[in-house]
């Protein structure tokens, strides 16, 4: 019973410590953030117009590497003669976007999503998955 009390004391202290530490970080973050957001708001007003000027490109960026974009645009221009505009380029299928933790996903999930477009090609027989065997394609 004494042991249980001791354990309860340990837990009480421990959970308090965790809450305290993270609350302190919260407080510090909020304080620091205050300083940074004040600055941003002023800038934001100035920057309002130029930002939405390239929506097509911005919408496309999560999945498709920019130099591919350029290549695709060039190909389209060459084919259709210049009067057309690429409005949407999407990487197919189970795209996750390049939200910032993508790298960590890769580490902890262990299946590569797509380092390159190459991974998206249909499997061609037994050799098709060699890129997952670590060989250079």
């Amino acid at each position: 019973m004494g042991a249980m009390l001791e354990n309860l004391e340990m837990i009480g202290t421990g959970f308090s410590v965790v809450m305290l530490v993270l609350a302190l970080i919260w407080a510090a973050c909020a304080l620091i953030g205050l300083f940074f957001t004040r600055g941003t708001k002023v800038e934001a007003k100035d920057a309002e117009k130029p930002a939405p000027s390239q929506p097509a490109l911005a919408a496309a960026t999560p999945g498709v590497p920019p130099h591919h974009l350029v290549a695709i645009s060039a190909a389209v221009a060459a084919t259709l003669g210049g009067g057309y505009r690429v409005t949407r380029i999407a990487a197919p299928a189970h795209k996750v976007g390049d939200w910032p933790l993508e790298g960590r996903i890769q580490t902890f999930n262990g299946h590569r999503t797509r380092a390159d477009w190459a991974a998206m090609r249909p499997p061609l027989g037994g050799a098709a998955q060699n890129d997952k065997r670590g060989n250079r394609p």
Partner: protein, 384 residues
């Protein structure tokens, strides 16, 4: 006659060169366990980066390979894993993994919405509750602490703490931690739905502000200082995590960031995984304790999930119009980034236009810090 005798002795000799006589029934049973782990890792994609090496290490542990792990004796050197396992024994590998994790982690969503740190803190209650349960069913306090940390859903931290407090339980704790991390998409949703109303699940959160490089750098340094001052025993984990993150966010040390994100973490992962697996001998693994640990692990995950969700609901009582969707509370268990994805999926189930992913990343990475703090607290309490 003589010829036959020689023949016999030769065969005997041959037999003694082999190790077939050393196979025990526990080994055979463990081969099945290894098979199950391989199946889960390869075909069900349960954290394969860790479970494949762990399972292969377990296979080696359950073959007569004492030559792989024996200590040096006289002029004979030790086995290969006598040396490689030093990285676990001496608590070197987990902080190095954290160096890579820090280099791979973006704390931006947390910095933009620092309230969510409390969700990451609340989820740690699962660790303490499980500690209590483990102590109640007969584990020693140090063992109970090592088991409870499974609820933190953070592999390297679990290995770090288990090695410190209860090295004989390292293998089952690591296996439980990584398996349940992979099971997060199955374990969490029922609990999340049970504890939230439809209306709560539909809460849309304000979009996150962008966070500048300077703010991220200050954050990394600040967390290092605060955590190490308050819980100095967590310094190896938090120090390396924030070193990796500082390298990443400084934007001027790209070579080093890449090395931490790739070379270092990959090589260490192979060694860490197999070192953990190679402790998984039949005698150590095939006993009641392992089953108890696997059971307590599920409980730990469940409580952690529930506490995260409930904390979000409590915080909403004080948040005016800027409500938190309680579905992101469950992400506080860490299990980065799976738990955040679960929040996203559950959120879209209630409202297809609701994007909770980035919001859930806040408690998700807060949970990593929280679990490291808990580990440091346990070490300070018990290991000195």
């Amino acid at each position: 006659m003589d010829g036959t005798a020689t023949e016999t002795s030769k065969l005997e000799q041959l037999w003694h060169l082999t190790a077939i006589a050393d196979v025990t029934w526990q080994m055979a049973v463990m081969w099945v366990v290894v098979g199950v782990l391989f199946y889960l890792a390869v075909y069900r994609k349960f954290e394969p980066l860790l479970l494949v090496p762990i399972a292969f290490g377990a296979l080696l542990a359950n073959l007569p390979t004492e030559g792989l792990i024996n200590a040096p004796a006289g002029e004979h050197g030790g086995g290969l894993y006598y040396y490689i396992s030093k990285g676990v024994d001496l608590e070197i590998f987990p902080p190095l993994i954290f160096l890579g994790v820090g280099a791979l982690t973006d704390f931006g969503p947390l910095i933009a919405n620092p309230r969510t740190l409390l969700l990451g803190a609340a989820a740690q209650f699962g660790v303490f509750a499980t500690f209590l349960g483990a102590a109640a069913i007969g584990f020693s306090p140090m063992e109970a602490g090592a088991i409870g940390i499974i609820g933190g859903a953070d592999g390297p931290t679990s290995i770090f703490l288990a090695n410190k407090l209860a090295p004989h339980l390292l293998a089952p704790i690591a296996v439980a931690a990584y398996s349940y991390m992979a099971l997060v998409p199955l374990l969490q949703p029922p609990i999340m739905r049970l504890l939230t109303t439809e209306k709560e699940r539909k809460i849309r959160m304000r979009s996150l502000r962008p966070v500048s490089r300077l703010e991220k750098l200050i954050f990394a340094a600040m967390v290092t200082i605060v955590v190490i001052l308050l819980v100095p025993a967590a310094s190896a984990l938090i120090g390396m995590l924030m070193l990796g993150n500082f390298l990443r966010e400084s934007l001027v040390t790209e070579r080093l960031t890449k090395a931490a994100q790739n070379e270092l973490i990959n090589v260490v992962t192979i060694f860490l995984g197999t070192s953990v697996g190679i402790t998984m001998t039949g005698e150590r693994f095939l006993n009641g304790d392992t089953l108890k640990i696997l059971g307590l692990g599920v409980i730990a995950f469940g409580i952690a999930t529930a506490c995260g969700v409930l904390m979000a609901k409590v915080m909403n009582l004080f948040s005016g119009t800027n409500k938190i969707n309680p579905l992101i509370g469950s992400a506080g268990v860490s299990a980065v980034p799976m738990a955040a994805r679960v929040s996203q999926v559950e959120g879209q189930r209630a409202d297809p236009g609701n994007f909770l992913l980035m919001h859930a990343m806040g408690p998700n990475v807060a949970g990593v810090i929280g679990t490291a703090v808990v580990a440091g607290y346990f070490i300070a309490w018990y290991a000195n």
